[in-house]
């Protein structure tokens, strides 16, 4: 493979938009530009397209009706709305919230914000694989608990949580369960009814839809209030003229995901397992982050001792391969990821971590190429490192 061909394996940070999604969106920027709230035919065409998109998103997660889907500007807004909206609306019932220590910043920071407003928040520990401690969840739940927010699957280490079990525990105490499915939607089949989910965050770009769109599933009867006030769109829960082209794109992305997920999931799992094996087996002092099987089909998170993640990334980039050292959001702080710290990795172990997230356009040939270049990259950096033990030196 020539160096000129670039290989993209950073799909958790950003994905291309499916060409079929772009096709579906275009008319809503060119000729179908009406406002869904208008009475005239332009408005009604827009309204119809929006409601069709809502139906497709509802079908993807087996929601009871399309009315339970609220469109937002993306997963961060959906998480904010679920947490702050439920907290404020249910303050009369209690002020205790439970979440986990490996949530995305758009869950952790709204929780921390609420702590400053008088709420109590419990951050549940996780085990070495990133599974939430269910016994602790049971112990921490009390009559004051109004909301539990747990991610469906973690984007950084891929661990998929036992949501159904979590839901049974949460509902035994009459709290609401919010699930952030940003990294999971479009990759694994989610059934909000069967799994007992009250609120579910949906991301558009994570299933090849446009950025800047997302959704929040809100089970009928859930007490929640808006965080954005205005003209009363989205049943009063999310004001602001709807971003119709992106909503139509999200709908199309959900439709495609539902149809193609079973086959794509199988294909990705095969590539994932080959990449994991190929990155670990030939290289000593290499480890997998997360669980071997209970992980997202596209997630390959590894770490190498004695070297640092960014220097591995730069080396890969020099060979045309784009990966990530973990969460793109924490790259700004230089602090090792809170997720990797929460699964018990020491700072220096977390610093040596590397994340490949696969997508539709990745091929087996690309996986083979990455596997073929990694041993030399690790060897070169280990030769430079003062931490490398003598036995690894030639």
């Amino acid at each position: 493979m020539s160096k000129a061909k670039r290989i993209y394996m950073d799909h958790t940070a950003g994905r291309p938009v499916d060409p079929r999604v772009i096709e579906a969106m275009l008319p809503y920027m060119k000729s179908l530009y009406g406002n869904p709230s208008s009475v005239h035919s332009f408005g009604q065409e827009a309204r119809q397209a929006m409601e069709e998109a809502r139906t497709k998103v509802a079908e993807l997660i087996n929601a009871e009706s399309k009315e339970s889907i609220i469109f937002t500007s993306g997963a961060t807004e959906s998480n904010n709305m679920a947490i702050k909206g439920v907290a404020h609306r249910n303050r009369d019932r209690g002020t205790h919230i439970i979440t986990s220590s490996i949530e995305h910043m758009s869950v952790l920071n709204p929780c921390k914000f609420l702590m400053k407003r008088g709420f109590k928040v419990t951050f549940l520990p996780v085990d070495q694989y990133g599974f939430v401690d269910l016994k602790r969840l049971e112990e921490e739940l009390n009559n004051e608990t109004i909301l539990v927010s747990i991610t469906y699957a973690n984007g950084e280490i891929g661990t998929v949580q036992p949501i159904k079990e979590i839901s049974q525990i949460v509902h035994s105490k009459n709290a609401y369960l919010h699930v952030d499915a940003t990294a999971a939607n479009g990759q694994v089949s989610i059934d909000v009814k069967n799994e007992g989910i009250d609120l579910l965050t949906i991301s558009s770009n994570d299933m090849y839809g446009p950025k800047g769109a997302g959704g929040l599933y809100i089970k009928k009867g859930t007490r929640i209030e808006p965080i954005i006030h205005g003209g009363g769109q989205e049943r009063g829960l999310r004001s602001g003229t709807e971003n119709l082209p992106s909503i139509v794109g999200l709908g199309k992305a959900a439709e495609i995901a539902k149809k193609e997920m079973p086959i794509e999931r199988k294909r990705l799992k095969k590539l994932r397992d080959k990449l994991i094996k190929g990155l670990l087996d030939p290289i000593p002092y290499s480890f997998l982050n997360g669980h071997l099987t209970k992980r997202l089909p596209n997630n390959v998170a590894v770490r190498y001792s004695f070297i640092e993640g960014e220097s591995i990334l730069l080396s890969l980039d020099m060979m045309g391969v784009a990966a990530s050292s973990g969460s793109a959001c924490t790259a700004k702080t230089l602090e090792p990821s809170h997720v990797l710290r929460a699964i018990g990795l020491k700072h220096e172990e977390a610093h040596g971590s590397l994340l490949f997230t696969l997508g539709k356009q990745n091929t087996e040939e690309e996986v083979d190429y990455v596997i073929s270049i990694m041993p030399d990259i690790v060897k070169r950096l280990r030769a430079m490192s003062p931490l490398t033990p003598k036995e690894l030196k030639e």
Partner: protein
């Protein structure tokens, strides 16, 4: 994110390795912080005749280590002591702001290595007394 010069030094680091019979050794940083480097120096007639480095860290940490060896080689100890973090960053056409603090350790490493050399010299003299 990085200048072409930083990338060039990352790709082709100068003077990487150890000096087995070094006259001074300086280790700074900490693997916990994600950056750690060891500078080895060889001194003759008050001049740095050889200098090598070993570094664990990000691209900036490796490039600054490489750059300090180029800046310091051939200099007198007094001149070398004066090289500071800013000089290293400037020579690399700048570093991203977040990297200026943690990863720009090379000048400190060199200073610690020279201090180590002075300490050893002093100890030697006292032994001879």
């Amino acid at each position: 994110m990085y200048s072409e010069k930083v990338m060039e030094h990352f790709r082709n680091p100068r003077n990487m390795g150890e000096i087995p019979d070094a006259d001074g050794i300086g280790t700074v940083g900490n693997p916990v912080c994600g950056d750690m480097m060891t500078i080895y120096i060889k001194v003759k007639d008050n001049r740095l005749i050889d200098i090598k480095f070993k570094t664990f860290g990000c691209g900036a940490a490796i490039a600054t280590s490489s750059m300090i060896t180029e800046l310091a080689k051939g200099k007198t100890l007094e001149e070398a002591m004066k090289i500071n973090r800013g000089d290293v960053a400037d020579a690399l056409d700048g570093l991203p702001t977040v990297k200026m603090h943690c990863s720009n350790l090379a000048a400190d490493g060199l200073r610690v290595a020279i201090e180590d050399y002075y300490r050893k010299q002093k100890a030697d003299k006292e032994m001879k007394k």
